[in-house]
């Protein structure tokens, strides 16, 4: 298992989502991706997309208006 990180700070929708999708494509099953975001609509659409893919998702509140989305590529 490998841990990847994706810095999407300062990026507005839909850039975080597209970047996440691209990054996940290249990862192996079992790998974990941590996406750093500070755009509130990305907190909704990135986890939503990941869940429809069947991945495990967790959202961490890091600071005011700052989140880490942890996605495990389960398949």
């Amino acid at each position: 298992m490998q841990e990847h990180e994706l810095d999407c700070m300062g990026e507005a929708c839909p850039v975080p989502l597209i970047k996440t999708q691209k990054k996940m494509e290249g990862m192996a099953v079992g790998d974990v991706l941590i996406v750093h975001i500070d755009h509130s609509c990305a907190v909704k659409n990135v986890p939503e997309w990941a869940r429809t893919q069947g991945y495990n998702v967790e959202i961490d509140d890091v600071d005011d208006g700052e989140w880490d989305i942890v996605i495990e590529k389960t398949k």
């Binding site: 300062g10 850039v15 005011d64 208006g65």
Partner: protein
Amino acid sequence: MNNFFKNLAKNEFYKKLLSEPLTYVAGAVLLSLFQIAHFAIFKSGWGVTGAFANWGAWLFQLVGGDVSDWGYFASASRQKTLEGGFLNDGGSIRNLGIMFGALLSTLLASQFKLKQIKALRQVVAAILGGLMMGYGARLANGCNIGALFTALGSWSLSGWVFAAFMLVGAYIGSKLLTKFFM
């Protein structure tokens, strides 16, 4: 005090009402109710970008510019709005309300943050995107609120035409975005 805010952040009602986004359905229902109320009270539909054009004209006048011979502002009603000034323009006040409400909601959710600009690319994207959206909205005589949402809700065919071309625009826009900004 600090403990109070920590507990507040975990409170079920606080989370549901203030910190987490509403569901799409809840948002849609509220928007519909407000738009009906708006139409009933003001006898005109909700729009956003028209007022911004007036803001531009007023700013231009502040620095000594003159828009009286511009085709866009030529109509009597637009001249009247410009002459009436900011405080007499309901659309401008409504836009201020949107900004104030958005700020208030992000403050109440404790999600306010001044974002750091990381790359020139983000600046270019924001400025280019804003200019194109504003220019397009004026050419189309409405944005996705005035020309789409309000028009659709008023059973106007123009809303469906706008929707069709907005889909085309969104498709081209997303292709350009992934090509130049990813």
